[in-house]
Amino acid sequence: MTGILFLEQSLNSLQFGLMLFLLAAGLTLVFGIMDMINLAHGSLYMIGAYLMASIAQATGSFWMALPLALIATAIVGVLLEISLLRRLYERDHLTQVLATFAVILIANEGVRIIWGNQSLMLNAPAGLTGPVTLPGGMQYASYRLAIIAVGVAVAVLLYLLVTKTRMGMLVRAGASNREMAIAMGVNIRRLFTIVFATGAALCALAGAMLGPILAVQVGMGENILILAFVVIVIGGIGSIRGALVGALLVGLVDTMGRALLPIAFAKMFPPQVASNLGPALSSILIYVLMAAVLFFRPQGLFPARG
């Protein structure tokens, strides 16, 4: 029983971690290259999920809606970047916090005005609704496996993009030393618009893939935004590799903590104490992880700035 539980929770944590990575990747690059705190990143995730849900409803096909939703969200991201965020790069962090907080309010209300207060339903694509039997006889939802597959594919793709292409080289140069990159003739503004569009598309991908599991609703972006910030701070700001490691760590610690701590506590403490302590401690774990990482490595695990 414990073996199967452990395997199931491992897959769950991998799935959660990969989705966090999609969000954190864009956030860490925006932060690393332009030194910009973008609280509205979670709003792009929400907008992506809403666009996905309504396009999927209109076309009747999950897989046809997915690229459309990604492109549409990327366009929203570019519009946001050109119209507003571009004016904020030279300002201090606190101004960026206030401005992007205002964007959250506006985005939330905009979504509420367009789609209403009810949360939207997004169905898993046909053929991926049931469970599959894994080697070893374990039943696992096929859609969750698909999420893992998509997450791994995107992670590999991003890795190749960042480490093997000219564009990726420019991104890394911008993240490690922006002034030097500008001095060497990199058009950092155009580069950043491209990075921002990619980040928005990745947000939409995470929103679209998680849509069938979680509710598509107003405010879905804010809580996951905090987790994404935890991930990039653990990983080191500006580092894609750090974002991946951080995301998988947070996914693992959070999922395993929630699944296993209550069981462990039930064996160690009287039931009343255990039922109080278990859920609280498992929620705290990722923050303890972050505090510990920052205490011993104040720049995160893989600092991008040398």
Partner: protein, 314 residues
């Protein structure tokens, strides 16, 4: 404008406000104004670390909420005297600030923002897990604190008590910032390396500043618990820390009136667009105009509202 005159006008308006509302038969706004005063105190305490100390704490709700919970828990256990519960709230918030600050102040920049958030979230879940004191549902206080010989359930008495406390705190902050300590704190914000080189124990100054700020937030928390006669985990949630931060940035970071002005403007805007009949059926969408106004402040008043009215740039 003359500083004394400005302060006099603000104080005068604050003193007359409940009387006017009483005449207009709008008792609701007396209670609403009390809430604003309490948030003004909390925002002023955050501005001390954020604006003057240059430490961007994203976990201020921890001290605010801890102060509120101490009053709530003591009242639940039968201790309602404000001579016991309020100092206890301040002491616990100060101790929490001492512990959190001692660890967090080793990091800087964005990492400081995130580590203070981490500790505040830990505190949030600790209070959520205390099932004996309401857990997720929070705790209702049987009544407001006692000990002054007058009933604080009277909205007038309560308003003037909170106003008096806010004025005392602001006066003390004013004195603190004008003192040697205040100058050193600002010097550290401007250039930490130089302050160290001159020989100031930078870490101890920053930690003391963080603790004072936490203690004031604890007092504000004790007041908010009395204001609503209820304490819940939402008081410690990161959204609360974010709201306090937005108030300070909106009002003016490092401006003396920044915190209070931000609290007044943000809460008044929320009330104007959500509670008043101004927008009619569209008042459900109050966040939209508030968001647009915040954006306008960012674009047109880069120093915050208090900064826009000040003569000298900072």
């Amino acid at each position: 404008m003359n500083k004394v005159l400005t302060t006099g006008i603000i104080l005068g308006v604050a003193i007359v406000f409940p009387l006017v509302m009483h005449v207009l038969d709008q008792a609701f706004y007396i209670s609403f104004a009390t809430r604003i005063l309490i948030y003004a105190m909390a925002a002023a305490s955050l501005n001390l670390v954020l604006g003057y100390g240059g430490m961007v704490s994203f976990g201020h709700a921890a001290f605010f909420g801890a102060g509120a919970y101490i009053v709530g828990i003591l009242a639940f256990e039968g201790v309602t005297s404000l001579w016991v519960s309020w100092p206890a709230a301040i002491a616990v918030a100060a101790l929490a600030a001492l512990a959190i600050g001692a660890i967090s102040l080793r990091t800087r920049g964005v990492y400081f923002i995130m580590i203070t958030l981490a500790f505040a979230q830990m505190m949030y879940y600790v209070f959520v897990s205390m099932k004996a004191y309401g857990g997720d549902d929070g705790l209702s206080l049987p009544s407001r604190s006692t000990g002054l010989g007058i009933s604080l359930s009277n909205d007038f008495a309560w308003y003037y008590l909170v106003l008096a406390l806010l004025m005392i705190i602001l006066y003390l902050l004013h004195r603190l910032l004008a003192s040697r300590f205040g100058r050193v704190i600002e010097a550290i914000r401007e250039n930490e390396t130089r302050a160290t080189a001159v020989g100031y124990p930078v870490f101890r100054y920053k930690l003391l500043c963080f603790v004072i700020s936490g203690a004031i937030a604890g007092l504000a928390g004790a007041l908010i618990a009395n204001q609503t006669s209820y304490v819940g985990p939402a008081l410690l949630h990161w959204v609360q820390s974010g709201t306090l931060m937005i108030m300070v940035i909106l009002g003016g970071v490092g401006r003396f009136w920044g915190g209070p002005v931000g609290a007044v403007v943000l809460l008044a805007l929320e009330e104007l667009f959500s509670g008043s009949p101004l927008l009619g059926p569209y008042s459900l969408h109050w966040q939209l105009p508030v968001g647009i106004i915040l954006l306008a402040v960012v674009m047109f008043a880069p120093q915050g509202i208090a900064g826009a009215f000040a003569k000298k740039p900072q």
